[in-house]
Symmetry: C2
Subunit: 189 residues, 2 copies
């Protein structure tokens, strides 16, 4: 792809993310973003229809990175479920400022919705991948695991990460293993 596109997108997204950390979303203007990104205002509009589109793509980028982190590498299962989960918590820790802002913002509902949707999808994939069948209702089970995991993550982030990422991965894994052989809603063991 034309490297200009990549550079502009990166500069705009970086500027937006930076502004997100230091002020409320409602206070951020396209002007500010363009100025900080050092691109023309028109360039912003050529990549994003408006600031909400920018927000959504920003969320999408971050959540993609989040869920990438918990995919076992390639075909070799050299990385265990616990390792992958640990990597995920490490990633969250490194980007805690961003995720904290997203979870605590009153005006941003898109983030929670998208996180939940992606988590549900991820849990379903893990169930399929591990060939898990259950007596109970599958739909409900998926919702159960997804919400449980998000709840733990949200609590950990918004409470300034009181435990290490290793410990969190351990505990979450242990909780999930109690019920089914679903070793992790995000990863396979």
């Amino acid at each position: 792809m034309d490297r200009r596109i990549e550079k502009s997108r990166q500069a705009i997204m970086d500027a937006f993310t930076k502004l997100m950390l230091e002020k409320d979303f409602e206070k951020i203007t396209i002007n500010e973003i363009a100025e900080l990104a050092n691109v023309n205002r028109g360039t912003v509009y050529s990549h994003y229809v408006d600031i909400f589109d920018l927000l959504n793509q920003c969320i999408e980028n971050h959540l993609n990175k989040l869920f990438e982190n918990c995919q076992p590498r390639g075909n070799d299962s050299s990385i265990s479920g616990k390792d992958a989960l640990c990597k995920t918590f490490n990633y969250l820790e490194q980007n805690a400022f961003f995720y904290s802002k997203m979870l605590m913002s009153k005006s941003i509902t898109a983030f929670r919705n998208r996180l939940h949707a992606l988590m549900v999808k991820s849990v379903e994939e893990q169930l399929d991948m591990n060939g898990i069948t259950t007596d109970g209702n599958r739909e409900i089970m998926v919702q159960y695991f997804a919400s449980a995991t998000i709840g733990v993550i949200e609590w950990w982030i918004t409470n300034s990460m009181p435990y290490s990422s290793e410990y969190m991965a351990e505990q979450l894994l242990s909780l999930m293993e109690r019920y089914q052989n679903v070793t992790a809603p995000l990863t396979r063991s």
Copy 2:
């Protein structure tokens, strides 16, 4: 000016400076520079005729910053000659890696020549500014002060800055004050 020009120049110059620090000038290629700067190779050629032009402009940029540092601020002489000289040594310290490379490189003669020329010009300006007249030969005096100052700077840089910049400024100032009321070849008192 079109911000694209500024951004491209900056990216290219940054990449070149970075490469200068980690390898010899002769080993640096335009391809490398373009790659590291993340610009098309043609863009490099649209700003610089060849790698020697790039080197010269790089030297020019750095030396301009060097001599900017020792100009007293604006019209108010709130910053004394010593302070300005101190700022100059501080700047040299911060960019010691670059200046050391330049001074020690066998293949780069342009840097020493340009440094000497700018130093001579600076000494002449300081003489004029302070209205200094002397019995001796002015030309020779200018050469004397210019070479003396460069010699001290070169020794300090290539010997890993054995004294603090404050001390160096002090000592150099004191040496120059012994002869004329030329308080500093780089600054006015």
